[in-house]
């Protein structure tokens, strides 16, 4: 007896390496499908019945490429939501720092970076929302702008050197955590875009 079904399922699981939960779920589903199809074949039980079931199912790479393309849309949506929340929180935290702390304690360059990096991130985000919903470059620029803005905000307020109040430190920690989540989503989107391109290239 050949192992056509086992081999196919193992290959499909590898192709879906961009989403382990999906790979596990689909491997079980596809195995059930292929075994039922093979058992319904007049040639069952035989290696030929398994081979025919696999052939009728289609190329694993093409199926994985479709899943990867759908995953990009979901990941882009998650990234947009995180970006919007991070921009809003960063803006509020920036304004609160001005109210809470005496401005101008840090280096001269910090206020400029704080303001203009945020404005740049916001501008790129707004333009990308209308023009390039799945652009990794746009997300990366927004992320860079927010990191620069938050970093400059922290330097500007001299948070760690002067022992700032707890609520100020907590707001900065919240911003840093959100940027971390955003970076995680941007990296995830990049990985899915690259994987989809690979699957489509080899599938042709």
């Amino acid at each position: 007896m050949t192992r056509a079904i086992d081999d196919y399922v193992a290959t499909l699981r590898r192709e879906l390496d961009f989403d382990r939960a999906l790979a596990d779920r689909l491997a079980s589903e596809v195995e059930d499908h292929l075994r039922e199809a093979a058992e319904a074949d007049p040639a069952w039980p035989s290696p030929e019945a398994e081979r025919c079931a696999v052939e009728r199912f289609g190329l694993g790479r093409e199926i994985a490429a479709e899943f990867a393309a759908d995953a990009i849309d979901r990941q882009a949506r998650r990234t947009w939501i995180t970006l919007a929340v991070t921009v809003a929180v960063t803006f509020v935290a920036m304004r609160l720092r001005v109210i809470w702390l005496d401005d101008g304690a840090g280096p001269d360059l910090a206020p400029l970076i704080d303001r203009y990096a945020f404005v740049a991130a916001l501008t790129v985000g707004v333009v990308a929302w209308f023009a390039f919903r799945r652009s990794l470059a746009a997300f990366a620029i927004c992320l860079g702008g927010l990191v620069a803005s938050i970093g400059a905000g922290i330097v500007r307020a001299d948070l760690f050197a002067n022992g700032a109040p707890l609520h100020v430190l907590l707001s900065a920690a919240g911003e840093i955590a959100l940027v971390g989540v955003l970076a995680f989503h941007v990296i995830g989107l990049g990985r899915r875009l690259r994987r989809t391109a690979e699957l489509r290239r080899v599938g042709r």
Partner: protein
């Protein structure tokens, strides 16, 4: 061209009741009398997409053969989407029929 309508065809295949992937493909083949001869695996991305969109729900079961099986069902939103797509298809096919008929009618 069929791929663009696959989601609606899958929804229609589940209208009679819950089913697993293999049964859905078999229903589609039977209803189309073999005309829709897609690779069987094509149905899984569509099922997943429809479930993500809230038009289907699914759950694992273990039938007598002991193999785990995922069963899909239409949700209320899925029933509404199917009715909407049927209407849209009716309008579209009528328009194509009229256009193709040309001056013959």
């Amino acid at each position: 061209m069929l791929k663009g309508h696959l989601d609606a065809i899958v929804l229609a295949a589940l209208e009679a009741g819950p089913a697993h992937g293999y049964a859905i493909i078999e229903t589609i083949k039977q209803r189309s009398a073999g005309t829709f001869d897609l690779p069987e695996g094509t149905v899984y991305p569509a099922l997943h997409r429809l479930e993500q969109g809230g038009l289907l729900s699914s759950a694992w079961t273990t039938p007598a053969n002991g193999r785990r099986r995922r069963i899909y069902s239409l949700t209320k939103a899925g029933v509404a989407a199917l009715n909407e797509r049927r209407k849209a298809w009716g309008r579209f096919s009528q328009a194509v029929d009229t256009a193709l008929a040309g001056g013959r009618a």
